[in-house]
């Protein structure tokens, strides 16, 4: 789990904070619009994405609340490539018809590291699907490692800490993370 350290330990300049937030909003818009090829272009080649299983434990037990060896998704660059390709197909029923997705990001907390930036943000991802009034909100905290390259920020690593211990939406596809 990603505990924040006090701001004085690694605060970044208002300009950096703003640039990173702008990047996250841009990226979220790509996900919301299913512009997954463009989104994929923002990933480094050693990129990994994870969404660990969350269990319901007593405070103080040795068993971690977020699993350290069990995930709903744990994929490197190659598998994410396959997923992006797959979601474009007619037979990918999970997103055909596509969900209407809306990311709302907040609490963006940036720490400078040797490799770049460690970015924590909270998010509510709204999902509406099909010809129905039903909808889901997937609440999560996300931790992202960003590198600063000549082409701008690139995403090197991401963990999505879901707030549910029982997943309550049909399926977890890439645009929802």
């Amino acid at each position: 789990m990603n505990e924040m350290s006090p701001p004085s330990a690694g605060g970044v300049s208002p300009e950096t904070q703003r640039e990173i937030e702008q990047f996250l909003y841009y990226e979220a818009d790509l996900l919301d619009r299913f512009a997954l090829e463009e989104w994929f272009g923002l990933l480094t080649e050693d990129f990994t994405i994870r969404a660990p299983i969350r269990s319901y434990t007593h405070p103080g037990t040795e068993h971690p609340e977020f699993s350290e060896d069990g995930y709903y998704i744990k994929n490197g660059h190659t598998m994410v490539r396959e997923r992006v390709t797959r979601l474009k197909k007619e037979y990918a029923w999970a997103e055909n018809p596509r969900s209407r997705v809306r990311h709302v990001l907040g609490n963006v907390y940036v720490t400078e590291t040797d490799e770049g930036y460690d970015v924590i943000n909270n998010q509510h991802v709204y999902r509406s699907k099909g010809d129905t009034a039903d909808n889901d909100t997937i609440s999560a905290q996300r931790e992202t490692t960003l590198c600063d390259t000549d082409d701008g920020f690139r995403i090197a690593d991401r963990t999505v800490y879901l707030d549910d211990s029982i997943v309550s939406t049909d399926n977890i596809t890439l645009p929802l993370l």
Binding site: I53, S55, T61, D69, G70, T78, R86, K89, Y91, W93
Partner: protein, 466 residues
């Protein structure tokens, strides 16, 4: 109540009649009164999967599990015996289990402090000396389910009625041995389970995994078209459009009384080197108690997907298209209301391989492929939700509409031959079965009909027709 019961009875009877012609009333996939009776007539007296012995290492280890919709706690007591208690204090019925797993010697009710040992006996309560002087604590213990285990798989039932677990698994034990007892040390559950809620009826998914390969071509086509990943032993087989269901077999197993116990779809390569994509070293650990035929069957396998009646699904497979594995999985289709299910999916591996990182990575990906985050399952879920939505419709009820499961009946299907090879075991096995034969669906629903038409169990445990 009387009115809704007769509605349920009518649907149950329609199921019996429809099944003679390979059909079934679509309405039973989302109907309040049917669901109400399923909880009482099926989940009380069937063997419900509760957990695996590898989840219990120390005395006091416990997990929360359900029978039907009832909340139970599965515990290992101080003497090493397993119990399953209803999470309901004998004082005022409060729940006292507040985590989904943990370790404790006692459970203390948060309401008035009644305390129970992890074997279910009442230990005591606050002010016992002042307020419960004449109470015999031996008379108070938690409601306990009847448990039985087979090869590490723990099952429980509320009513101790009908055949033992092993009798009720019947011919299915041959395949359970192959799937969950292939090595000397047995299988072990790796991590926390995947859990998700889905708007589909438990019968829909139980039926899907009971042997439905027919859906794979349509539902999962996007998954098979992966381009850049190694397909493992699948590379050795002709592509799907040429195979046309060859190599796939449907096995329908009976219990000791000749009723449907469960069924599975199994894929073999007819090549002993396939070994489901496991590393060769697995052979060094083969369980010497298994027969030569069982070892041969496992060696030639690519996958097993099956269902144990009523709502346990069993998997041991390497995923097609390069999406990971081999992995083993036990899944429970936990009823959560008419047309609603919570899915719980546990990942298992042979204990001997749990420290092999390269293998564990591949095995994890197979398990992930059939999860809400997976490239395969996510497509099923969208479709199953639609079944649930339409099945509650008044149209289906008013017109008594029947769905179809006639594949393999007289004059319907070609090529369904029973293989001669004894490795296929005691069940009724047909080649091409998973694609062109729906005996598994008819068997599962016949087992459902049998239990539903028995009526509810009596409060004292005797059977009743009422």
């Amino acid at each position: 109540m009387a009115k809704s019961l007769s509605h349920a009875e009518r649907l149950i009877e329609q199921t019996g009649t429809d099944l003679e012609n390979g059909e079934f009333p679509l309405k039973i996939l989302n109907d309040e009164s049917i669901y109400h009776e399923e909880l009482r007539r099926i989940f009380t007296r069937s063997w419900n999967y509760l957990g695996h012995t590898s989840e219990f290492e120390e005395p006091g280890d416990y997990v929360r599990r359900h029978i039907g919709e009832d909340p139970y706690i599965l515990t290992l007591d101080e003497t090493g015996e397993l119990h399953a208690f209803l999470d309901s204090c004998q004082h005022r019925g409060a729940q006292f289990c507040t985590a989904d797993k943990g370790n404790t010697s006692h459970f203390r009710c948060p309401y008035h402090g009644w305390t129970y040992k992890n074997n279910g006996d009442l230990q005591g309560m606050p002010h016992m000396g002042e307020s419960y002087q004449a109470l015999d604590t031996d008379d108070v213990s938690l409601e306990e389910a009847y448990l039985d285990t087979y090869k590490g798989l723990i099952f429980g039932r509320i009513v101790d009625e009908g055949p033992s677990l092993e009798e009720s698994l019947g011919d299915l034990t041959y395949y359970l041995d192959v799937m969950f007892d292939i090595t000397e040390e047995g299988m072990t559950v790796v991590t926390d389970a995947h859990r998700w809620e889905s708007d589909h009826d438990w019968k829909t998914s139980a039926d899907n995994f009971a042997g439905d390969n027919y859906h794979v071509l349509t539902t999962h086509q996007a998954g098979f078209e992966a381009e850049n990943i190694d397909r493992g032993p699948w590379e050795e087989l002709p592509p799907m459009e040429e195979r046309k269901g060859k190599y796939n077999h449907l096995a329908v197993a009976e219990d000791d009384e000749g009723n449907y116990a469960g069924s599975l779809s199994l894929m073999v390569s007819y090549d002993n080197d396939t070994l489901m994509g496991y590393p060769e070293k697995l052979r060094d650990h083969f369980n010497p108690e298994l027969s030569e035929e069982q070892i041969e069957l496992f060696s030639q396998s690519l996958y097993y997907f099956g269902t144990v009646f009523p709502n346990t699904t069993i998997i041991h497979a390497i995923q097609a298209g390069g999406w990971g594995g081999p992995w083993a999985c036990i899944r429970k289709w936990q009823p959560r209301g008419p047309g609603e299910t919570e899915v719980i999916s546990w990942w298992l591996v042979p204990k001997e391989l749990e420290d092999d990182e390269e293998f564990m990575e591949r095995s994890y990906r197979g398990w992930e492929s059939l999860s809400p985050g997976g490239a395969f399952e996510s497509d099923d879920l969208s479709i199953w939700n639609g079944i649930s939505d339409s099945s509650k419709s008044v149209t289906l009820e008013t017109r008594e509409t029947s769905g179809n499961m006639q594949q393999g009946m007289d004059g319907m299907s070609d090529g369904l031959e029973e293989p001669e090879d004894p490795m296929f075991g005691p069940a009724e096995v047909t080649e091409y079965g998973g694609y062109y034969d729906e005996r598994h669906s008819r068997g599962l629903l016949r087992a459902w009909y049998r239990q539903m038409s028995k009526g509810r169990p009596q409060p004292n445990g005797d059977e009743s027709d009422e």
